[in-house]
Symmetry: C2
Subunit: 315 residues, 2 copies
């Protein structure tokens, strides 16, 4: 066992949660949720995505939201782009543009999700790298989507994941940009904790210098055990969503499932002595606020049960 002393969370709730919701939220509501999250101690918050407003009506006002947020020093407010046009929108806004390379290990998923196959995706990434250079944006993470499995292709071989990482590493080297690490994304909820151990092990064996991050969805109940398996291996970088936002298994989004839940991760880590830098009680308040805002039950657990603080005080 090799727990990290602390973890870093990239909060994705405002983007993942809002983009999938059919109910339309105001710019004020969106900005207020982001501001409340920044007040909990979270240091990086994904605020908006730059996507087709016809497909994702709730992101039509992404620019206004980015401008409306009252920023807190020390917090990074990020956005997600899927193409060069989105990247250019992000660069024109008061957002923290963090350089990334984003590829999908499943050819079919890549085409269905972005309209580009893997080769075309790498061509697009080259454009992004040029844009980062032009705007003096540092590269940080490479992302491998569907790194565990894919609804179209089933199991994604480990060798394919390693091949994608090798190409990411090469692209970063070509542009003489240091790469912080790679995110393995369980985009559609295939991963078990055993897969986490095996795939992280395989990546580490080949690139011991790369950090590893995880983007997990709790589609089939393995989200939290996957986090735990990664913590045991010293992984200290996680994407997650307040209240488990990001495609609710209930009500209108039946079948989809949210990201692993930020406050549940914070609870588990803090209870095990792993620092998160986040005020759990404030984050629980945020999750409850999100539930009120969304108007339906959200999948987070500790937000409904409360932390253990009151029981310890009583005892």
């Amino acid at each position: 066992m090799d727990f990290p002393k602390s973890i870093r969370i990239h909060e994705e709730g405002p983007r993942e949660g809002i983009q999938i919701e059919s109910r339309q939220f105001s710019v004020t509501e969106k900005a207020a949720l982001i501001e409340a999250l920044a007040d909990t101690g979270l240091k990086q918050i994904d605020c908006v995505s730059f996507v087709n407003p016809k497909r994702v009506p709730n992101m039509a006002d992404a620019d206004q939201v980015a401008r409306a947020i009252r920023k807190k020093p020390g917090v990074r407010y990020t956005g997600l782009w899927l193409n060069q046009k989105g990247l250019e929108r992000a660069l024109a806004l008061p957002l923290d543009v963090v350089g990334s390379i984003r590829v999908t290990a499943s050819e079919t998923f890549s085409i269905r999700n972005t309209g580009r196959d893997i080769a075309q995706t790498f061509d697009e990434q080259r454009l992004w790298m040029e844009t980062y250079r032009k705007h003096d944006v540092g590269l940080e993470w490479g992302y491998v989507m569907t790194a565990f499995g894919c609804n179209y292709e089933g199991e994604v071989p480990v060798a394919r994941v390693l091949e994608m990482i090798a190409r990411i590493v090469d692209l970063a080297a070509e542009f003489e940009q240091p790469l912080t690490g790679v995110y393995l994304a369980d985009t559609v909820g295939f991963a078990t904790p055993l897969d986490i151990e095996r795939r992280i092990g395989a990546v580490r064996e080949r690139w011991p210098e790369l950090k590893i991050g995880l983007h997990l969805h709790d589609t089939r109940g393995t989200g939290m055990p996957n986090v735990y398996a990664a913590l045991r291996m010293g992984v200290d970088q996680f994407d997650s969503s307040v209240a488990g936002l990001g495609g609710c298994p209930f009500a209108e989004h039946k079948g989809a499932a949210g990201n692993v839940c930020t406050e549940d991760i914070v609870f588990m880590c803090e209870e095990m002595g792993i620092a998160t830098g986040v005020d759990l009680e404030a984050l629980i308040d945020c999750a409850r606020r999100a539930e009120t805002m969304f108007g339906h039950v959200l999948p987070g657990k500790v937000m409904h049960a409360g932390s253990l603080a009151r029981f310890r005080e009583a005892a």
Copy 2:
């Protein structure tokens, strides 16, 4: 890592789920759910509890339910009693009475939950042991409730848990009954996977011959990581509830939380090569049936997302 080759599940949904629900179900509905569960390959199903019908109206017809179930050979249909009177009711019914010793590590919780302190509880257990002997009922498991923490007393020291197990072991020896093992019950959702590792480690060190079982509630999102941590230590005996029944965090039972979810455990285990003997697709059907019966969303994950079988077939 020391995964078991297979696990045994004690399905608790019909008892845990129905006893907490305010909506009244018919004997036919209850028996039908139990029969459907037995058809999935589950080998032990907790069907009813013998409790005060004024406190738990849905268990007023426990005797009729026990008689109504069409039994399947090779399946054990159990019930839960909390006192001698309940045990005698169970013995008079067509149920599988499995000898157990049940104590609570927290004195306060013991008094609030059963009206008896720990000393009185052991006196009561002695009566049960005499009754088992009289009726030729074999002893199997000792249960330590609140083995991780208590809402009244906060943290429960490991030493207290070991003391309770020592007294259980002594009581079994006094009656010359072999004890299969001990269940550690996280009755109110305090356990983290690190606690699971530490407490199981402490029990194993002192009693390497005892098997260990876990009764977990997913109150704060640590249910599934707790199962995973236990699997890594070779634990192969779990209580769980179909659809995560047992005090829903949603709707009418806000704040309470269900047991770890049977089909989510079955999914995770089977995906990792650990046999469960359960037909996952049939169990998912059962979970969905329970959701229809209960009339509100239940917390299970894989029941909403479906298994991976259809994606593998498509690929």
